[in-house]
């Protein structure tokens, strides 16, 4: 029997790039319109003085959310488990899943590039350069009271994060896309898991609360809440990945002079972001790899007794 040719990975990738484009043609067609609307919205925010941090970091939640939604859109109509059409094709199944994830990621990057382009235009218009330098009012010491703040408690710092900042939307969107893709590829019933997590959280919270009181183990108090907060708002949490913590570090406060200004509890740290990016993107890539391996072609060899 002569050797039957298998498709080239590049041909498979391009087939999926085209298929995803066709499946998502409506969102893809309105993406430029959406980008224009988002740009106008950002321009208004800047004009109102509501965005003092960084243009690349603060609005990066948007591509991150789109990244997660795109992963769902790419897989939701696919028969991920069972004898679906995708798995009847002559491509190693786990590799096929990875190629499809890659095809979706290419479109995501194209969309984020559009987003970054509009942000660059805004930066040029409002800051006079593609990489803006911002002047931040930073607290010298932490403040907990809601009293008006003495301006002497603030110092002015110039924040010039450098060219790496442009990567924030790309990396954050990639990480959320990978994590959501892993969820879609590797979990047979995603909705059940979401409902399960939502139901489990208050139960776990109640157990930790009651348990800490009854057993006297104080470390258990609010354990689930602390875990989730750390995951979302910690030094290397999701917010650090998506916005460089510009959301949680920045707050509006009244000064004793009556003025209301943006006050930063610290200058966002691109070093922390690098680690967060590495952790989240690495976790996403690993998760995708494990999820794809659920569809592996070869049977595991049974151990001989």
């Amino acid at each position: 029997m002569t050797r039957t040719q298998l498709p080239q990975p590049r041909a498979v990738l391009m087939a999926h790039v085209r298929a995803i484009a066709f499946a998502l043609r409506v969102p893809l067609l309105i993406a430029p319109v959406f980008a224009i609307v988002a740009t106008i919205f950002l321009a208004i925010q800047i004009a109102n003085g509501d965005m003092t941090g960084n243009l690349y970091a603060e609005p990066s939640a948007l591509p991150s959310i789109i990244g997660a939604l795109l992963a769902i859109a790419v897989w939701v109509r696919e028969e991920r488990f069972g004898p679906g059409f995708l798995w009847t094709l002559p491509v190693d199944r786990s590799r096929h899943a990875l190629i499809k994830v890659l095809a979706g990621w290419l479109w995501l990057m194209a969309g984020v590039a559009l987003f970054a382009l509009s942000v660059m235009v805004l930066a040029l218009v409002y800051d006079g350069g593609v990489l803006p330098v911002r002047s931040l009012q930073v607290l010298i010491a932490p403040v907990t009271s809601q009293e008006p703040l003495d301006p002497a408690a603030l110092r002015t710092e110039q924040w010039a994060p450098g060219p790496l900042i442009v990567l924030v939307p790309f990396v954050s969107a990639t990480a959320t896309y990978l994590l959501a893709s892993a969820f879609m590829v590797g979990v047979r019933h995603p909705l059940r898991w979401i409902v399960g997590a939502v139901v489990t959280f208050p139960v776990a919270s109640a157990i930790s609360h009651v348990g800490s009181r009854m057993l006297g183990m104080l470390w258990m108090t609010h354990l689930p809440e602390r875990a989730v907060t750390g995951l979302l708002e910690g030094r290397y949490g999701l917010e650090a990945l998506v916005t460089l913590r510009t959301w949680s570090l920045d707050r509006r406060m009244h000064l004793t002079s009556g003025e209301r200004i943006h006050v930063w509890s610290a200058v966002p740290d691109l070093g922390d972001w690098r680690i967060a990016a590495l952790l989240w993107t690495g976790a996403g890539a690993l998760a995708v790899w494990f999820a794809a391996s659920r569809h592996r072609e070869r049977r595991r060899e049974r151990r001989r007794a």
């Binding site: 298998l6 499946a23 109509r77 028969e79 059409f85 798995w87 491509v91």
Partner: protein
């Protein structure tokens, strides 16, 4: 080369001790299938007999609990992509994939996966089977979906066609046309066909091997001539209190009696069976071979199980 090797190389499909269970239900129970290269093998069985599971196992869409399946000498569990590249598959289900695509676009998408895809032939088949090329797949009727699946299976001129109820859902006119196309395809392209059907008579002109699956077990498997030669209907005149001898009971597929006349369907060489019957005091009044469909169905239970 050993005799076994020689036999294996002349077989397109072989399975050995193939078992598959779904919970408490046994779908395949030690199936040992052998489909010679170039044969048109018709697999018969009632609903739930295990036909579709067998096909999915050959495609490596289902993993068997025990046993092996090889297609052109390739282990379907280990060489899934290479095996699927050689197969044109029509699944039992008539829900086509990618409902948002048009038929033409899906054919274009599938073409990317098969380097041997014959575009001109795909167009010819699409026209001959009346597949509405520009219609969305979501809007296709059951019959149109089936026709599209047939084009998908045939257009890359695979070495093996796995057709699971290929005529199901087709109207009589299209059935006839599809059969003619299949016959022409077999004449043009060296192909082995393994198909399941509830309408064996329809395939009478094509079939040269027949297998019968019953409750997951392959209870009969032989060349068509052997089946029609050895599965015969006998009309006997019997003395009072006559019973079918034990050695023939094992081969008795059907039995009915009116008075002293007994009609039975027995498996075995006619001369040998007649001699044995005569030896018991019965007189064989008539012996005739059965049409292919009746001969195959004789192995199935008369009452729904």
């Amino acid at each position: 080369m050993t005799e076994t090797d020689s036999k294996a190389s002349s077989d397109a499909v072989t399975t050995q001790g193939l078992c598959k269970r779904f919970g408490a239900k046994t779908a395949l129970d030690g199936v040992a299938l052998r489909v010679p290269v170039g044969a048109v093998y018709v697999l018969v069985g009632v609903n739930g007999a295990g036909k579709s599971t067998l096909f999915k196992t050959l495609m490596n869409l289902e993993r068997p609990d025990a046993g092996t399946a090889t297609v052109f000498g390739l282990d379907s569990g280990h060489d899934g992509p290479e095996v699927r590249a050689r197969i044109g598959y029509v699944p039992d289900r008539q829900d086509a994939p990618y409902r948002w695509m048009t038929c033409a676009r899906l054919l274009g998408h599938a073409a990317a996966f098969y380097p041997a895809w014959d575009r001109a032939y795909a167009v010819q088949l699409t026209g001959a089977l009346g597949v509405p090329a520009n219609q969305r797949i979501g809007g296709l009727s059951k019959g149109e979906t089936r026709r599209l699946q047939l084009v998908l299976a045939l257009a890359h001129r695979p070495a093996l066609l796995l057709l699971d109820e290929p005529m199901d859902g087709l109207d009589p006119v299209v059935r006839r046309r599809a059969l003619v196309l299949l016959a022409e395809h077999l004449a043009d392209t060296p192909t082995t066909v393994l198909l399941s059907t509830h309408h064996v008579g329809e395939m009478e002109s094509l079939a040269d091997h027949v297998g019968v699956l019953r409750d997951g077990r392959l209870v009969a498997q032989m060349a068509r001539e052997d089946l029609q030669r050895t599965v015969r209907s006998y009309v006997l005149e019997t003395p009072d209190g006559w019973e079918l001898p034990r050695e023939l009971s094992a081969t008795a597929l059907r039995r009915s009696s009116t008075g002293r006349e007994v009609r039975c369907t027995l498996v075995g060489e006619e001369r040998e069976v007649t001699d044995r019957l005569n030896a018991t005091g019965a007189r064989v009044r008539d012996s005739r071979s059965l049409p292919l469909e009746d001969a195959a169905l004789a192995f199935l239970p008369e009452e729904p199980t």
